[in-house]
Subunit: 343 residues, 2 copies
DNA sequence: TTGAAAGCGCTAACAG
DNA sequence: CTGTTAGCGCTTTCAA
């Protein structure tokens, strides 16, 4: 944030009048569109300071055809992963002089479509979208020409910049961690009911591949689907797994919230984490550093994801970037904590 | 969200031309500023539909002097309380056809001042502020004339609408709950170091009054101040309380995050919740329904707070509300869970 | 290096 | 009930 009070009514004209120059000159002092003589510049600057002038953004936007606003559309704010991502994006946007507007899709396909197809076009210069339900085809068919950057593991193979960690490798690492601890009945919680959707797919695929690599058989009954991706879903999924004839001895959760829900259920059922069941999450939200037990998890570099997404988008908006769309994979690490290592 | 694609370049003029009417008539069909004949209306509407027209907001805003955007400035998104509040506010703003912009102050006094003094004035019609550090005087001296609505327990006695639950009564209820369970050494975690600030003040005051009402002595060493209001602060505060010669047997936390931090410390130190130490939080964030143990807490009606704040603000913005500022106290309840009742 | 002026798209006052 | 038009504040082209 950088300040400056704007008494209503102080316009370019007022400054021009006060400084005894034309509108164009004042505009040039402000925007540097063409050079201005040093003496003139000083006089104009003084008038600006004295009157406390701030450009009227609506007018500027009308004229320029751009608004200085970009949107970040995420499924929900209640998932702290997105809250943290949004924080990073907002900081970066602000740094570039842009305002970032948050939109929620509730992970609802129709809302994702609406956003992608230009719901906010009148107000935004560009869009960062973290889709949940949107498929490749829908993105390809999108009807808006507003620059778009995708984040998250949902959609691949579309002509837009895409920022997401290597979900396959990350899932591998998570499962491998459990395998290394000697676990053999490793369950996956948080597969999407509609199994051929991409996002769960990648993490699920990583899970399967890692099992195979470890010589463990894939057991479909150990994959708990959930309608959403919150704590309640994790709790329910865990209940179902515990009802199995042979319950799991480890859980790889689609995300941290699901892991927290699962751990809650385990606690209620009198099972110890990690002694009876080890748990690994995905996202590394702050909660996992204070939960009982603390949560082992995949930690994507959220700061970098947010920053890169905003940078790419703004570069496209301003026409500075015209390369073909790029696929960027920010770093991630596995953070081992009590839910697998014990205390 | 309600949609409509806006191919760039479809203007009022285009519609007017297509429908064979004047600009004004099209505008009237859209805005209902004055009546339009039914036949004409139909023709215009058809042109609008066919061309997929959406008004250019920048132009409208320039003309109207309003932007249709309101801001909600909160300390941080990482506290799920604010995330939930923001969700409610966004829904309500959308319902009124407004866009809600989120701003973060980091609980930093300067940023709160900046926001309050009109940092976003060029872009917003009104502001909802949840101050942490801002004092009465700063609000009274504010230099912006943008309509303002305050939420939260921070500032009283200023000429703006204020939406906040009765913090005094809520704190009373929380402490009374602990007293009723037979606890006698009840600590308060999350007092602000600068003790004469209002927000912690009310909850702290409620705490003291409830102790007095219960015939319990106030022990200053049982008040743990914290620099911020996050999990880490709660964990640190708890450490300090446990180092006392006579540690507490109950905790009333300024908010849920602090309570989670405190419970984490208790767990690490091998103390049982609630057997050894009972814990009550404040905010009722979802996390507390899945934590181990689940958290007893004060549950403010966040939906109502968000809704009322937005409604009041928009009414002021649109000049529909010119009454003197009002103080509104939405309902709250105490939700007893395992952290005081046990399992 | 500077000025004059057109015009972005819209709303609302004025005129019929 | 409908049309004409001024002008919101700014950027940028054309002219000097």
């Amino acid at each position: 944030m950088s300040g400056g009070i704007a008494p209503v009514g102080v316009s370019l004209k007022a400054i021009a009048h006060r400084a005894g120059v034309s509108l164009a000159t004042v505009s040039n002092v402000i925007n540097g569109y063409r050079p201005v003589g040093e003496a003139t510049r000083q006089r104009v600057q003084q008038a600006i300071d004295e009157l406390g002038y701030t450009p009227n953004l609506s007018a500027r936007h009308l004229r320029r055809g751009r608004t200085g606003i970009i949107a970040l559309a995420i499924p929900e704010l209640n998932n702290p992963y997105f809250a943290e991502l949004a924080g990073a994006a907002i900081r970066e946007a602000t740094r570039h002089g842009y305002t970032l507007l948050l939109d929620y899709t509730d992970g609802d396909r129709n809302k994702e479509l609406l956003v992608s197809d230009g719901f906010r076009d009148q107000i935004i210069d560009g869009l960062i979208l973290s889709p949940v339900q949107l498929d490749r085809q829908a993105v390809l068919n999108r009807t808006s020409s507003t620059p778009l950057v995708l984040v998250g593991e949902s959609v691949y193979g579309v002509p837009y910049d895409h920022i997401a960690i290597d979900n396959l490798a990350a899932s591998h690492m998570a499962v491998q961690h459990l395998v290394a601890l000697g676990r053999t009945r490793i369950a996956f919680v948080g597969a999407h009911p509609d199994a051929n959707r991409e996002p769960a797919h990648l993490r699920l695929r990583g899970y399967r591949e890692a099992l195979a690599a470890a010589g463990l058989a894939f057991d479909e009954s150990l994959v708990a689907t959930t309608p959403h991706f919150g704590r309640g879903d994790g709790a329910d999924g865990m209940e179902r797994l515990l009802a199995l004839p042979q319950p799991p001895d480890a859980i790889f959760a689609y995300n941290d919230l699901i892991a927290f829900g699962a751990m809650r259920t385990l606690s209620v059922r009198g099972l110890r984490v990690p002694e009876d069941v080890a748990v690994v999450g995905f996202d590394d939200v702050e909660e996992g550093r204070f939960s009982n037990p603390t949560l082992t998890t995949i930690s994507p570099d959220k700061e970098t994801i947010g920053r890169l997404a905003v940078d790419s988008l703004i570069a496209r908006v301003e026409g500075r970037l015209t390369d073909p769309p790029r696929e960027v994979q920010p770093p991630f690490v596995l953070v081992p904590r009590e839910s697998t290592l014990g205390r």
